[in-house]
């Protein structure tokens, strides 16, 4: 019978902290994102025009985009980290920042003369940007995997995708400290591509790496 086990478990009972799930998720992504920010500064260097950029709108639009994606994904994750946690209502919200930025990109393109549009979309770093974002997503992804393994997700594939999305947003936020691209079309295509790649990796690896 399970009586012995129940006695043992009851004897070792301690009060459970109320914010355990949120705290653990925040710690996992926070530690990973901090590491990515340090790595960005150390390997690539901060953007040289940081002071001027921080006075302009697009630097903050970029950061708002990546932080919003990470935050919304984390908010979905707060549900998925719990058995029977229902995330269906929260999940669609992650598309809001993408649609908003896509709208801004369309507006910017519409006001740009035709020959300037392609350069605007491609910037000067389109080829490396998604890869670097993916690379800087890996530390926050590792942090979130650690967090989730201590919690109890029961739908590992979707949970993997959502932590990939959160890690992608965090990695892109760190990379934004270096990247000096500042047009909405560039961001919505190349940043989103890097973040989506992180999401895809989470989706693929979730069932294997999130088991508890």
């Amino acid at each position: 019978m399970s009586t012995d086990l129940i006695d043992r478990l009851a004897a070792g009972l301690r009060p459970a902290p109320r914010l355990a799930v949120v705290r653990r998720l925040a710690f996992g992504i926070g530690a990973g994102a901090a590491l990515s920010a340090v790595l960005t500064a150390a390997i690539l260097g901060l953007r040289p025009d940081m002071a001027r950029a921080a006075a302009g709108a697009m630097f903050w639009v970029k950061l708002a985009y990546t932080v919003a994606l990470a935050g919304l994904a984390l908010w979905v994750c707060e549900r998925l980290a719990r058995p029977a946690g229902e995330a269906r209502r929260r999940l669609p919200w992650v598309f809001v920042p993408i649609l908003a930025l896509a709208g801004l990109a369309a507006w910017q393109l519409a006001w740009t003369p035709e020959p300037m549009r392609m350069p605007m979309l491609m910037g000067h770093s389109a080829r490396v940007c998604p890869w670097l974002i993916l690379a800087f997503s890996l530390p926050p992804l590792a942090g979130l995997v650690w967090a989730l393994r201590g919690l109890a997700p029961t739908r590992l594939r979707i949970t993997g995708a959502v932590i990939g999305l959160a890690a992608g947003g965090a990695g892109a936020s760190a990379y934004a400290l270096h990247c000096d691209e500042s047009t909405a079309p560039f961001l919505v295509v190349w940043y989103t591509l890097g973040i989506a790649a992180a999401c895809g990796i989470g989706w693929l690896a979730g069932p294997r790496i999130l088991r508890w």
């Binding site: 019978m1 399970s2 009586t3 086990l5 129940i6 006695d7 478990l9 009851a10 004897a11 009972l13 301690r14 009060p15 459970a16 902290p17 109320r18 355990a20 799930v21 980290a81 719990r82 058995p83 029977a84 946690g85 269906r88 919690l151 109890a152 029961t154 739908r155 590992l156 594939r157 979707i158 995708a161 989706w203 069932p207 088991r211 508890w212």
Partner: protein
């Protein structure tokens, strides 16, 4: 002793605040329900279910901070039990039920729900007589025309319809019997 969801949840809330007496009552009540849950799904071998009950109790203990105080307790506890059951199926490698790759949709319950449903239906069908099972599978699962099925079985169409209807109702009743929630 069969406690309701409201009573179980009240025990859980007290347990989360560190009340060991409430916790012991909660785990005893849950272990009884879990025993039933696993026996229905695993059948013959009681030691197998007992192992899973213990594994689930341990998971409930270590993961108790993931319980959202604003939600119901029984779905949370059963979700853990289901997770452990599916884990057990996967480890056991019962090839007959090994899941296909998932269909790629983000919004399905991974493949867990499908694996569980397949187990349930297979076990439900096993409870029907061989003749009826064959008719139910042909008509309901393979969606063969009733006329063809009747001809091959040497029965009238209405007899096939009646047998399928009865078999299907019995199957549904068996599946409902598994929903032993509060």
């Amino acid at each position: 002793m069969s406690l309701t969801e409201i009573e179980l949840k009240a025990l859980m809330l007290r347990s989360l605040d560190g009340d060991a007496v409430a916790y012991r009552r909660l785990l005893s009540a849950l272990s009884e329900r879990l025993g039933t849950y696993f026996e229905r799904r695993l059948g013959a071998d009681p030691s197998e279910s007992e192992d899973l009950v213990q594994e689930t109790l341990m998971a409930i203990h270590t993961k108790r901070a993931t319980f959202d105080r604003s939600q119901l307790l029984t779905p949370w506890a059963y979700a853990i039990a289901r997770y452990k059951l599916i884990d057990h199926y996967r480890r056991g490698g019962r090839h007959r039920f090994t899941p296909l790759e998932d269909d790629g949709s983000l919004f399905v319950d991974d493949d867990s729900a499908a694996i569980e449903a397949r187990h349930d239906i297979a076990r439900g069908l096993a409870g029907l007589s061989p003749g009826t099972r064959d008719l139910v599978v042909r008509v309901k699962l393979h969606e063969e025309p009733v006329a063809d099925v009747a001809r091959r079985a040497g029965m009238s169409e209405s007899a096939v319809k009646v047998a399928v209807h009865r078999g299907f109702r019995k199957l549904a009743a068996r599946l409902r019997g598994k929903e032993d929630s509060a």
